[in-house]
């Protein structure tokens, strides 16, 4: 067998036998299955009874006496604020509000509660709003109009294709979930394998095994075998995740339903997921090989990994921004910058999709960066491989990379 393949197989088998790898690979499907299981256990029991809530109110304007039942909330009238306060303290009502005499001109409603809250719960605010609206409009417009004023809009958006047909892939948060989770896992996986690479090289340097290896194979064969061996292990991990996603989604949407049935996998997601994993992985592996080459020990190498590994997470930090400003040029930059490209592409696939030219440029830049970093890594490998105990100064590294 070709020596590169032998190294590849050795590194692959070593990686997939490691505990961290097995845990990382299985944690996604296992956690999802546990989640679905727990949901079924809970929903198999009696459905929870929504407790009726009683809210007091004092009407200093007059006329607010109809529509006192709003869903599960019962509104109870008190003559004075003192009575309402006494009822609150006795526990007869959970809270009360006062409609002051100047309400019509100011719109101010005073609400009293025993609980400390960041803001009025949305449900309560809606109940009070609907109660006020209904009473003010009562008798002036037909009841259907009252309901429509309370809930004027149920927006249903449909995405059409350029030919005017309904697109198979619609927008919404359901689209973001899977690419979002996948982007996070991808970044974690890249970090894991970067540290495997640095650790492996560090150990071989520390144990001087590297000299025995290099008396049998060339630095290029060694590095290529390592990069692709670890890459194959990474690919197994990603394929397990990606393969388990549709199965888990089907299970979740059939057992839990609701939001889960709206989750979709964006078109091209599986293909681009694998392509960007492979390219992202190769870039990180080459960077890690370079770091492994210039670091005298595993420990020192591991300290350098976060410098570039954290960059991979940058698109995730800006994810919330993506929802608000999906067309910001910063996304184009993150899509093209090679270290952030895999994550940025995954996230954008779920939100807005990506223009074909951006994908083309992103892939081209990624491939070029891999070739360049790999070239430099092999050079650094050759120069610093046999340096033990002392990391060369950065200036020296740059000089030697230039001169080879």
């Amino acid at each position: 067998m070709n020596k590169t393949l032998l190294i590849l197989r050795h590194e692959f088998l070593n990686a997939i036998k490691r505990k961290a790898f097995i845990i990382m690979t299985l944690i996604v499907p296992v956690l999802a299955l546990i989640g679905i299981g727990v949901f079924q256990l809970i929903s198999a029991g009696e459905s929870p009874v929504v407790e009726a809530v009683t809210i007091g109110y004092v009407d200093e304007v007059g006329g607010f006496d109809q529509y006192t039942t709003q869903g599960y909330v019962e509104l109870v009238h008190f003559d004075t604020p003192g009575d309402a306060k006494a009822a609150l303290i006795n526990g007869d009502v959970s809270e009360y509000f006062v409609i002051p005499s100047d309400y019509l001109s100011t719109g101010v409603i005073n609400r009293y509660t025993l609980e400390r809250q960041l803001e009025t719960p949305l449900g309560i605010a809606t109940v009070i709003k609907n109660f006020l609206t209904s009473n003010m409009l009562a008798g002036k417009v037909p009841p259907e109009t009252v309901y429509r004023i309370e809930a004027p809009l149920d927006l249903v958006t449909t995405r059409l294709t350029e030919t005017g047909e309904v697109a198979t892939e619609q927008g919404g948060y359901g689209n973001v979930i899977i690419p979002g989770i996948f982007a996070l896992l991808l970044a974690l996986s890249l970090q894991l394998f970067s540290s495997y690479m640095v650790e492996g090289l560090g150990n071989e340097k520390e144990s001087r095994l590297i000299e025995v290896l290099l008396s049998s194979v060339s630095p290029r064969q060694l590095l290529t075998g390592k990069v692709f061996g670890l890459g194959a292990a990474g690919l197994v991990q990603v394929v397990v995740w990606l393969a388990s996603l549709p199965l888990l989604l089907n299970l979740a949407s059939s057992t839990i339903g609701g939001f889960f049935s709206t989750i979709q996998l964006p078109a091209n997601f599986l293909v681009l997921g694998i392509v960007y994993f492979i390219l992202g992985y190769l870039l990180f592996a080459a960077l890690s090989a370079g770091v492994g080459a210039i670091s005298p020990s595993t420990h020192e190498g591991q300290l350098l990994v976060p410098i570039y590994a954290l960059l991979a997470f940058v698109p995730l930090w800006f994810a919330s921004l993506l929802f608000v400003f999906p067309d910001s040029p910063i996304w184009t930059v993150l899509t093209i910058f090679p270290v952030t490209a895999p994550m940025a592409v995954m996230l954008r696939l779920g939100v807005t999709g990506i223009a074909a030219w951006e994908l083309a440029v992103s892939l081209a830049v990624l491939v070029l960066s891999i070739i360049m970093v790999m070239f430099l890594a092999i050079r650094a490998f050759r120069v610093y491989l046999l340096m033990y105990g002392k990391r060369p100064a950065w200036g020296e590294i740059i000089r030697s990379l230039r001169s080879g």
Binding site: L6, I7, H10, N203, E204, E206, S207, R208, E211, V212
Partner: protein, 297 residues
């Protein structure tokens, strides 16, 4: 065809000349000693032979060609500092490293069992490397070095850290390999081992050739005109002897330039003297080494 041919090789690091215009060759079936003090440039020379380091100038030919994948399969290298995959089993470590030398797994396992048996380590074949003692690890590494039946063996300080039993075991195996026609290069600063095992030597200091050639010729070149004598009775006057020095268990006789040891021996026998030991004084390699290294520095 020469096993190794090194021609005017030089290598400098940032602030130091490690190897300076060095040339030597090693023939097939020869045990060759590469000796010198620590930091003399032995390991750098070996790394250039292994193509781990590129020489700044000069050329290295291994088994008649520039080192390539095929020649790498025909050489075995035991580096000075030892290491194997700690978590891997002995048999798997040997098989993997042998596979990188082009040996298929089946033959590697078969040969590994044979060598483990020969070195008395068969019982440890399923142990992890980290469970072995230092000396045992070293034997495993030696097995890794020879398992692919290399034509050329390069051993950097092979006896360092070995107990006397394992040292003898290793020496025996090396002698066998030489007798099979393999070229063996021993790099060491343990002169007694070189003296015992090697046919020819290269002594280097500060990256430069200090002494190079046949070991017995070199020793003859450094031989002083004196003999070592252990006898019974009175020595008296011996013609041609200019001085005497008494050591524990023997006496050293200094001869003038016209007198040979044979003449002295004939004289002593003719006097009917009881002689327990008569030896032409030859400096040990260690003494030559100290003399040469001291002279250069």
């Amino acid at each position: 065809m020469l096993a190794v041919d090194v021609n005017h090789v030089a290598k400098s690091f940032a602030d130091k000349v490690a190897v300076d215009n060095l040339s030597f060759s090693v023939a097939q079936g020869e045990m060759f000693g590469l000796i010198g003090p620590n930091g003399a440039g032995k390991t750098t020379t070996i790394r250039m032979m292994m193509d781990i380091l590129k020489p700044d100038s000069g050329e290295v030919t291994i088994l008649g060609e520039k080192l390539n994948e095929a020649t790498k399969n025909r050489l075995g290298y035991l580096p000075e500092e030892r290491g194997l995959y700690k978590k891997l089993k002995v048999i798997d470590s040997i098989a993997y490293l042998a596979s990188l030398k082009g040996v298929d797994r089946h033959s590697a396992t078969e040969k590994a069992n044979e060598l483990l048996n020969q070195t008395g380590m068969l019982a440890s074949k399923n142990k992890k490397i980290e469970e072995l003692s230092r000396g045992m690890g070293q034997i495993i590494q030696f097995i890794v070095t020879i398992i692919h039946d290399p034509q050329l063996l390069i051993l950097d300080e092979p006896f360092a850290g070995l107990d006397p039993v394992n040292t003898e075991l290793l020496k025996g195996m090396l002698a066998d390999l030489r007798n099979q026609g393999k070229a063996v290069i021993l790099s060491t600063h343990q002169m007694n081992q070189v003296e015992e095992l090697c046919d020819r030597i290269l002594m280097i200091n500060n990256g430069q050739n200090v002494l190079y050639g046949d070991l017995s010729e070199i020793k003859a070149r450094y031989r002083g005109n004196s003999v070592l004598l252990d006898f019974k009775g009175e020595l008296g006057e011996v013609p041609g002897v200019t001085g005497k020095r008494t050591h524990k268990g023997y006496t050293e006789l200094m001869l003038d330039s016209k007198t040979t040891p044979q003449q002295v021996l004939a004289h002593l026998i003719s006097r009917g003297m009881v002689i327990n030991r008569f030896e032409v004084a030859t400096p040990s390699l260690n003494e030559i080494f100290l003399k040469e290294v001291g002279k250069k520095s």
